[in-house]
Amino acid sequence: MIMTTTLRIILSVGIVLYFVFVIVMIRKKTLSLKYSLLWLLMGVVLLCLIIWPELLGLLCKCLGIVDTMNCLFTIALVFALIIIMSLTSIVSKQDEKLKVLVQQLGILEKEAKETNCQVEFIKKDL
Protein backbone atom coordinates (compact mmCIF):
# COMPACT_ATOMS: atom_id res chain seq x y z
CA MET A 1 0.00 0.00 0.00
CA ILE A 2 1.35 3.42 -0.93
CA MET A 3 1.05 6.21 1.61
CA THR A 4 -1.55 8.80 0.85
CA THR A 5 -0.40 12.40 0.46
CA THR A 6 -2.54 13.35 3.45
CA LEU A 7 -0.67 10.93 5.63
CA ARG A 8 2.68 12.09 4.34
CA ILE A 9 1.82 15.71 5.15
CA ILE A 10 0.56 14.83 8.62
CA LEU A 11 3.65 12.74 9.41
CA SER A 12 6.04 15.39 8.04
CA VAL A 13 4.48 18.13 10.15
CA GLY A 14 4.50 15.76 13.11
CA ILE A 15 8.20 15.09 12.70
CA VAL A 16 9.04 18.78 12.36
CA LEU A 17 7.14 19.48 15.59
CA TYR A 18 9.04 16.61 17.15
CA PHE A 19 12.34 18.29 16.13
CA VAL A 20 11.23 21.56 17.71
CA PHE A 21 10.26 19.70 20.87
CA VAL A 22 13.61 17.89 21.14
CA ILE A 23 15.62 21.06 20.49
CA VAL A 24 13.66 23.04 23.08
CA MET A 25 14.23 20.25 25.58
CA ILE A 26 17.96 20.36 24.83
CA ARG A 27 17.99 24.17 25.30
CA LYS A 28 16.25 23.73 28.66
CA LYS A 29 18.79 21.08 29.67
CA THR A 30 16.02 18.53 30.17
CA LEU A 31 17.70 16.43 27.49
CA SER A 32 21.43 16.46 26.92
CA LEU A 33 22.58 16.86 23.31
CA LYS A 34 24.93 13.90 23.51
CA TYR A 35 22.16 11.41 24.28
CA SER A 36 19.62 13.06 22.00
CA LEU A 37 21.67 12.62 18.82
CA LEU A 38 20.10 9.25 18.04
CA TRP A 39 16.60 10.67 18.51
CA LEU A 40 17.43 13.48 16.08
CA LEU A 41 18.94 11.03 13.57
CA MET A 42 15.79 8.92 13.73
CA GLY A 43 13.70 11.99 12.95
CA VAL A 44 15.94 12.92 10.01
CA VAL A 45 15.85 9.42 8.49
CA LEU A 46 12.07 9.04 8.85
CA LEU A 47 11.48 12.52 7.45
CA CYS A 48 13.64 11.73 4.40
CA LEU A 49 11.76 8.49 3.78
CA ILE A 50 8.43 10.28 3.98
CA ILE A 51 9.39 13.23 1.80
CA TRP A 52 11.04 11.04 -0.86
CA PRO A 53 8.78 7.98 -1.38
CA GLU A 54 11.19 6.74 -4.10
CA LEU A 55 13.76 6.29 -1.34
CA LEU A 56 11.21 4.39 0.72
CA GLY A 57 10.33 2.23 -2.29
CA LEU A 58 14.02 1.44 -2.85
CA LEU A 59 14.43 0.46 0.78
CA CYS A 60 11.37 -1.82 0.57
CA LYS A 61 12.87 -3.59 -2.44
CA CYS A 62 16.21 -4.05 -0.65
CA LEU A 63 14.59 -5.47 2.47
CA GLY A 64 12.03 -7.54 0.57
CA ILE A 65 9.07 -5.78 2.20
CA VAL A 66 5.90 -5.40 0.10
CA ASP A 67 3.94 -2.84 2.07
CA THR A 68 5.64 0.60 2.32
CA MET A 69 3.93 1.38 5.63
CA ASN A 70 5.36 -1.83 7.06
CA CYS A 71 8.79 -0.70 5.93
CA LEU A 72 8.38 2.64 7.71
CA PHE A 73 7.28 0.87 10.89
CA THR A 74 10.25 -1.48 10.67
CA ILE A 75 12.74 1.38 10.36
CA ALA A 76 11.12 3.25 13.23
CA LEU A 77 11.13 0.10 15.35
CA VAL A 78 14.78 -0.64 14.59
CA PHE A 79 15.70 2.91 15.60
CA ALA A 80 13.66 2.63 18.77
CA LEU A 81 15.46 -0.60 19.67
CA ILE A 82 18.88 0.93 18.99
CA ILE A 83 17.99 3.91 21.18
CA ILE A 84 16.72 1.68 23.98
CA MET A 85 19.87 -0.44 23.81
CA SER A 86 22.08 2.64 23.96
CA LEU A 87 20.09 3.83 26.98
CA THR A 88 20.70 0.50 28.69
CA SER A 89 24.40 0.96 28.06
CA ILE A 90 24.31 4.53 29.41
CA VAL A 91 22.44 3.43 32.53
CA SER A 92 24.96 0.65 33.11
CA LYS A 93 27.86 3.09 32.91
CA GLN A 94 26.10 5.51 35.26
CA ASP A 95 25.45 2.70 37.70
CA GLU A 96 29.15 1.95 37.77
CA LYS A 97 30.05 5.64 38.25
CA LEU A 98 27.55 5.96 41.09
CA LYS A 99 28.98 2.93 42.77
CA VAL A 100 32.47 4.43 42.66
CA LEU A 101 31.14 7.71 44.06
CA VAL A 102 29.38 5.98 46.92
CA GLN A 103 32.48 4.02 47.79
CA GLN A 104 34.71 7.10 47.65
CA LEU A 105 32.29 9.05 49.84
CA GLY A 106 32.24 6.28 52.39
CA ILE A 107 36.01 6.22 52.53
CA LEU A 108 36.18 10.02 52.58
CA GLU A 109 33.81 10.20 55.53
CA LYS A 110 35.93 7.76 57.48
CA GLU A 111 39.15 9.61 56.74
CA ALA A 112 37.53 12.96 57.55
CA LYS A 113 36.42 11.67 60.93
CA GLU A 114 39.88 10.30 61.65
CA THR A 115 41.55 13.63 60.97
CA ASN A 116 38.82 15.49 62.84
CA CYS A 117 38.21 17.43 59.69
CA GLN A 118 34.84 19.05 59.17
CA VAL A 119 33.78 18.40 55.61
CA GLU A 120 31.06 20.64 54.29
CA PHE A 121 29.55 20.02 50.90
CA ILE A 122 28.66 23.40 49.50
CA LYS A 123 25.37 22.98 47.74
CA LYS A 124 25.12 25.78 45.20
CA ASP A 125 22.75 24.06 42.86
CA LEU A 126 22.80 20.78 41.02
Partner: protein, 241 residues
Protein backbone atom coordinates in the same frame (compact mmCIF):
# COMPACT_ATOMS: atom_id res chain seq x y z
CA UNK B 1 44.37 22.09 53.38
CA UNK B 2 44.05 25.15 51.18
CA UNK B 3 44.19 28.30 53.31
CA UNK B 4 43.45 31.84 52.22
CA UNK B 5 46.57 33.46 50.77
CA UNK B 6 47.88 36.65 52.33
CA UNK B 7 48.19 38.58 49.10
CA UNK B 8 45.24 38.38 46.74
CA UNK B 9 46.16 36.42 43.63
CA UNK B 10 45.08 37.66 40.22
CA UNK B 11 43.23 34.50 39.37
CA UNK B 12 43.11 30.73 39.28
CA UNK B 13 44.83 28.61 36.65
CA UNK B 14 42.77 25.51 35.93
CA UNK B 15 44.89 22.63 34.66
CA UNK B 16 42.79 19.65 33.51
CA UNK B 17 44.88 16.48 33.34
CA UNK B 18 44.05 13.03 32.04
CA UNK B 19 46.93 10.58 31.71
CA UNK B 20 49.56 13.33 31.59
CA UNK B 21 52.15 11.60 33.78
CA UNK B 22 54.93 12.43 31.31
CA UNK B 23 54.37 16.17 31.18
CA UNK B 24 52.40 17.28 34.23
CA UNK B 25 55.35 17.96 36.54
CA UNK B 26 57.17 20.12 34.00
CA UNK B 27 53.98 21.88 32.94
CA UNK B 28 53.07 22.88 36.50
CA UNK B 29 56.61 23.93 37.40
CA UNK B 30 56.72 26.04 34.25
CA UNK B 31 53.43 27.66 35.25
CA UNK B 32 54.59 28.40 38.79
CA UNK B 33 57.76 29.95 37.40
CA UNK B 34 56.14 32.09 34.69
CA UNK B 35 52.89 33.11 36.33
CA UNK B 36 53.61 33.58 40.04
CA UNK B 37 50.78 36.05 40.52
CA UNK B 38 48.22 33.30 39.85
CA UNK B 39 47.09 30.36 41.93
CA UNK B 40 46.80 27.04 40.16
CA UNK B 41 44.85 23.82 40.57
CA UNK B 42 45.39 20.56 38.68
CA UNK B 43 42.22 18.58 38.08
CA UNK B 44 43.15 14.93 37.83
CA UNK B 45 40.33 13.41 35.78
CA UNK B 46 40.70 9.90 37.21
CA UNK B 47 43.88 9.24 35.24
CA UNK B 48 44.81 5.63 34.75
CA UNK B 49 48.55 6.30 34.68
CA UNK B 50 50.96 7.69 37.26
CA UNK B 51 49.58 11.25 37.10
CA UNK B 52 48.14 11.16 40.64
CA UNK B 53 51.32 9.69 42.03
CA UNK B 54 53.39 12.45 40.46
CA UNK B 55 51.04 15.11 41.81
CA UNK B 56 51.35 13.66 45.30
CA UNK B 57 55.10 13.16 45.15
CA UNK B 58 55.76 16.74 44.09
CA UNK B 59 53.19 18.14 46.53
CA UNK B 60 51.34 19.90 43.72
CA UNK B 61 47.95 21.55 44.28
CA UNK B 62 45.30 19.23 42.86
CA UNK B 63 41.75 17.93 42.95
CA UNK B 64 41.35 14.23 42.33
CA UNK B 65 38.13 13.15 40.60
CA UNK B 66 36.97 9.65 41.60
CA UNK B 67 35.25 9.14 38.25
CA UNK B 68 36.36 10.24 34.78
CA UNK B 69 34.23 13.17 33.56
CA UNK B 70 36.00 14.22 30.37
CA UNK B 71 37.52 17.61 29.59
CA UNK B 72 34.24 19.51 30.08
CA UNK B 73 33.53 18.03 33.48
CA UNK B 74 37.14 18.35 34.64
CA UNK B 75 37.45 22.00 33.67
CA UNK B 76 34.03 22.73 35.17
CA UNK B 77 35.30 21.31 38.45
CA UNK B 78 37.95 24.02 38.28
CA UNK B 79 35.29 26.68 37.66
CA UNK B 80 33.25 25.44 40.64
CA UNK B 81 36.36 25.59 42.79
CA UNK B 82 37.08 29.10 41.50
CA UNK B 83 33.53 30.21 42.30
CA UNK B 84 33.58 28.72 45.78
CA UNK B 85 36.90 30.42 46.51
CA UNK B 86 35.75 33.78 45.15
CA UNK B 87 38.32 34.14 42.40
CA UNK B 88 37.68 37.09 40.10
CA UNK B 89 39.46 35.49 37.18
CA UNK B 90 40.12 31.96 35.98
CA UNK B 91 42.19 30.64 33.08
CA UNK B 92 42.41 27.19 31.52
CA UNK B 93 45.86 25.84 30.73
CA UNK B 94 46.30 22.35 29.30
CA UNK B 95 48.19 19.77 31.30
CA UNK B 96 50.25 18.58 28.36
CA UNK B 97 52.53 21.60 28.07
CA UNK B 98 51.12 22.92 24.80
CA UNK B 99 50.16 26.24 26.34
CA UNK B 100 52.90 28.67 27.33
CA UNK B 101 52.20 30.41 30.67
CA UNK B 102 54.19 33.50 29.69
CA UNK B 103 51.06 34.68 27.90
CA UNK B 104 48.90 34.64 31.02
CA UNK B 105 49.98 38.09 32.21
CA UNK B 106 49.33 39.48 28.72
CA UNK B 107 45.89 37.93 28.68
CA UNK B 108 45.13 39.40 32.09
CA UNK B 109 46.23 42.88 31.04
CA UNK B 110 44.22 42.66 27.84
CA UNK B 111 41.15 41.56 29.77
CA UNK B 112 41.46 44.53 32.13
CA UNK B 113 42.06 47.01 29.28
CA UNK B 114 39.24 45.89 27.05
CA UNK B 115 36.90 45.00 29.96
CA UNK B 116 36.34 41.72 28.20
CA UNK B 117 34.47 38.82 29.79
CA UNK B 118 36.65 36.26 28.05
CA UNK B 119 40.10 36.36 26.44
CA UNK B 120 41.12 33.53 24.15
CA UNK B 121 44.73 32.79 23.28
CA UNK B 122 44.65 32.27 19.52
CA UNK B 123 47.25 30.37 17.52
CA UNK B 124 46.01 31.85 14.31
CA UNK B 125 45.97 35.61 14.84
CA UNK B 126 49.67 35.92 14.04
CA UNK B 127 50.18 32.36 12.84
CA UNK B 128 53.27 31.84 14.96
CA UNK B 129 54.27 28.63 16.69
CA UNK B 130 52.66 25.21 16.35
CA UNK B 131 49.75 25.58 13.95
CA UNK B 132 48.21 22.11 14.42
CA UNK B 133 47.68 19.66 11.56
CA UNK B 134 46.12 20.54 8.19
CA UNK B 135 42.89 18.66 8.73
CA UNK B 136 42.44 20.13 12.17
CA UNK B 137 43.03 23.64 10.82
CA UNK B 138 40.31 22.99 8.25
CA UNK B 139 37.95 21.90 10.97
CA UNK B 140 38.81 24.98 13.03
CA UNK B 141 38.22 27.27 10.04
CA UNK B 142 34.82 25.63 9.64
CA UNK B 143 33.94 26.42 13.24
CA UNK B 144 35.21 29.97 12.90
CA UNK B 145 32.84 30.45 9.96
CA UNK B 146 29.95 28.79 11.75
CA UNK B 147 30.37 30.90 14.88
CA UNK B 148 30.68 34.05 12.77
CA UNK B 149 27.42 33.19 11.04
CA UNK B 150 25.59 32.71 14.32
CA UNK B 151 27.15 35.40 16.50
CA UNK B 152 28.56 37.88 13.97
CA UNK B 153 31.89 37.63 15.79
CA UNK B 154 35.00 36.22 14.16
CA UNK B 155 36.81 33.93 16.60
CA UNK B 156 40.00 32.73 14.94
CA UNK B 157 40.72 29.94 17.40
CA UNK B 158 37.43 28.68 18.78
CA UNK B 159 38.88 25.35 19.93
CA UNK B 160 41.72 26.90 21.89
CA UNK B 161 41.87 25.61 25.45
CA UNK B 162 43.88 28.64 26.55
CA UNK B 163 41.04 30.86 27.75
CA UNK B 164 40.76 33.40 30.53
CA UNK B 165 37.42 34.45 31.96
CA UNK B 166 36.11 36.98 34.43
CA UNK B 167 33.89 36.58 37.47
CA UNK B 168 30.54 36.48 35.68
CA UNK B 169 31.64 33.70 33.31
CA UNK B 170 33.12 31.76 36.25
CA UNK B 171 29.67 31.88 37.78
CA UNK B 172 28.07 30.78 34.48
CA UNK B 173 30.47 27.95 33.69
CA UNK B 174 30.44 26.59 37.24
CA UNK B 175 26.85 25.47 36.70
CA UNK B 176 26.52 25.43 32.92
CA UNK B 177 29.32 23.94 30.84
CA UNK B 178 29.25 21.38 28.00
CA UNK B 179 30.47 17.88 28.75
CA UNK B 180 32.56 17.16 25.70
CA UNK B 181 34.30 19.33 23.12
CA UNK B 182 33.22 22.32 25.15
CA UNK B 183 35.20 25.19 23.65
CA UNK B 184 33.31 26.16 20.46
CA UNK B 185 29.91 25.63 22.04
CA UNK B 186 30.64 27.62 25.19
CA UNK B 187 32.20 30.44 23.15
CA UNK B 188 29.02 30.66 21.05
CA UNK B 189 26.84 30.61 24.16
CA UNK B 190 28.80 33.35 25.87
CA UNK B 191 28.70 35.53 22.74
CA UNK B 192 24.96 35.02 22.31
CA UNK B 193 24.44 36.10 25.92
CA UNK B 194 25.96 39.41 24.92
CA UNK B 195 29.30 39.01 26.67
CA UNK B 196 32.56 40.43 25.33
CA UNK B 197 35.08 37.97 23.91
CA UNK B 198 38.58 39.07 22.90
CA UNK B 199 41.50 37.23 21.36
CA UNK B 200 45.23 37.76 21.63
CA UNK B 201 47.91 36.01 19.61
CA UNK B 202 49.80 33.27 21.44
CA UNK B 203 52.37 30.67 20.55
CA UNK B 204 51.57 27.05 21.35
CA UNK B 205 53.96 24.17 21.44
CA UNK B 206 53.59 20.71 20.04
CA UNK B 207 52.41 18.02 22.46
CA UNK B 208 55.34 17.10 24.69
CA UNK B 209 54.28 13.68 25.84
CA UNK B 210 51.31 11.35 25.85
CA UNK B 211 48.73 10.90 23.11
CA UNK B 212 45.93 13.17 21.96
CA UNK B 213 42.47 11.86 22.68
CA UNK B 214 40.85 12.49 19.27
CA UNK B 215 40.96 9.93 16.42
CA UNK B 216 39.21 9.75 13.04
CA UNK B 217 35.90 8.15 14.02
CA UNK B 218 35.65 10.45 16.97
CA UNK B 219 36.37 13.39 14.65
CA UNK B 220 33.20 12.76 12.63
CA UNK B 221 31.11 12.51 15.79
CA UNK B 222 32.87 15.64 17.03
CA UNK B 223 32.09 17.68 13.91
CA UNK B 224 28.41 16.69 13.87
CA UNK B 225 27.88 17.08 17.58
CA UNK B 226 29.67 20.41 17.91
CA UNK B 227 27.89 21.82 14.84
CA UNK B 228 24.53 20.93 16.35
CA UNK B 229 25.62 22.20 19.75
CA UNK B 230 26.66 25.54 18.24
CA UNK B 231 23.31 25.93 16.52
CA UNK B 232 21.45 25.16 19.71
CA UNK B 233 23.70 27.46 21.76
CA UNK B 234 22.92 30.01 19.06
CA UNK B 235 19.32 29.99 20.22
CA UNK B 236 20.37 31.66 23.46
CA UNK B 237 19.37 35.26 24.02
CA UNK B 238 20.80 37.79 26.46
CA UNK B 239 19.04 37.46 29.80
CA UNK B 240 17.00 40.50 30.70
CA UNK B 241 18.64 42.15 33.71
Amino acid sequence: METKKQEKKKGLIIIPAYNEAESIKDTVENIIKNAPSFDYIVINDCSKDATLQILKENKLNYINLPVNLGIGGAVQTGYRYALQNAYECAVQVDGDGQHDPVFLEKMFEHMKETKADMVIGSRFLEKKGFQSTGTRRLGIKYFTGLIKMITRKKVTDPTSGLRMVGANIIKLFATDYPKDYPEPESTTYVLRLGMKVEEIPVIMKERQGGVSSINFKKSIYYMIKVTLAIFIAGLARPKKV
